[in-house]
Amino acid sequence: MKVVIIDYGAGNITSVKNALQRIGLDPSLSADAEEIRKADSVIFPGVGQASAAMEKLRSTGLDTLVPDLRQPVLGVCLGMQLMCAHTEEGDVHGLGIFPAKVKRFIPTASSERVPHMGWNKLDHIRSRIIPGDTGEAAFTYFVHSYYAELSPWTSAQSAFILPFSAALEKDNFYGVQFHPEKSGSYGQKILENFIELSKAYQ
């Protein structure tokens, strides 16, 4: 099982690497097109500012590589947002894998604090990787100021100010707005399910 975490200088990848190591994997960090193409599954992380991250993807050619991948690809947080069509953050076009728009949270009451930071519940789960029937409540850890709108590709919702896409799925592409690597045993299960899925593609 060859797992590659795309390392394009956008944010912290140590936590994702640690989480995969905890489930017995030995992920590689790489920005090399050949290595990424050969992987059984690919994790596309991202933290920070969208337009700066898109610029890094363009300058390394990853912007054309990622949408062409055939193995399971999991975008996390900003990674998921960059897989969408457009984001209001820096007004940039993303990779267009999910034809969804990313917008900024606008508080409707002064008690609402942006960024959306903390544990929130998932609902409307219809996902191949997110457990919806475990009996335990589906809480995951979020940190973000922008959100993907609900769309036909939404595979789990969460609500903060309004309902938004906590996860997206389309073909071999998966995206999660939350941080599975920081979401306790429930988050670990999601990573395990994603990796399990990859085995079917081998």
Binding site: Q49, G118, W119, A159
Partner: protein
């Protein structure tokens, strides 16, 4: 709906947890990683580690701590204590911490907040503020509450927010260690002064104090140290209590 966060704080000196000696089921209560994992299993939503190692000649201690904690823990954690430049923060965050917290260094050099937010994003930058009630206003202190500054709480809270802080951790020096409850009024004033998440600190003594702070202020998290270390309150019980009282919690 976003849940409220319960955040145990662990003081770490020379790589060892200070306090936290009452845990029977720990093989090594001084091990910050093991203690953190225990809190995590009990339902802590997040952890804060404060590196209080007196000599900061060896500034790698915080980065080493981040590395060890990040290997084991699968919940978010923040590291603070003596961080005064971007390079130190970088080594801590690259080792797997989710956030860094700055306090005295930010008061002495407010530009540090801008630099940190620019380098790592606001979500990684927590500004801790220690302040004391001076009647008509709250005065900001540094160096663990020993040295008063010219700054007033609400002005400083607004300034750190405009400079890019992602979160404010406000400790009332009047309440800290008293177990008489959080500084509800001052906390709500901070919440109303800034649009970012505010964490309450100082004064937690009973489960009802947490209910008060979550129902009477807009704080999204509450931090405590000794009541958890000495097992005066179990996190599991606390969360059940809060849910029973209508507070939204992760269990």
């Amino acid at each position: 709906m976003l849940t409220k966060r319960i955040i145990p704080c662990l003081d770490v000196k020379d790589g060892r947890t200070v306090k936290g000696i009452r845990f029977k089921n720990l093989t090594d209560a001084g091990d910050p990683v093991e203690l953190g994992a225990l809190y995590s299993r009990a339902g802590a939503d997040e952890l804060v580690y404060l590196d209080i190692t007196a000599s900061h000649e060896n500034r790698n201690t915080a980065a080493e701590l981040a590395k060890e904690v990040a290997k084991e823990l699968n919940i978010p954690f923040t590291i603070g204590g003596g961080i005064s430049d971007v390079r130190q923060a970088a080594s801590i965050l690259q080792n797997g911490a989710d956030k860094v917290t700055v306090n005295s260094a930010a008061v002495r050099n407010p530009g540090l907040i801008d630099e940190l937010a620019h380098a790592f994003g606001s979500q990684a930058v927590v500004v801790a503020i220690d302040a004391e009630d001076h009647g008509d206003h709250w005065q900001v202190y540094v160096s663990g509450g020993r040295i008063p500054t010219e700054r007033k709480l609400l002005e400083w809270a607004r300034e750190v927010t405009s400079r890019g802080a992602g979160e404010i951790l406000f400790t009332s020096m009047n309440h800290d260690g008293t177990k008489s409850g959080f500084a509800l009024e001052a906390l709500q004033q901070v919440c109303e002064s800034v649009p970012i998440p505010v964490i309450a600190s100082g004064g937690a003594g009973t489960m009802d104090h947490f209910r008060e702070v979550f129902s009477q202020t807009w704080c999204t998290g509450a931090l405590a140290a000794s009541i958890f270390h000495y097992r005066e309150i179990e996190i599991t019980d606390l969360k059940k209590y809060l849910i029973d009282h209508g507070i939204n919690m992760r269990i």
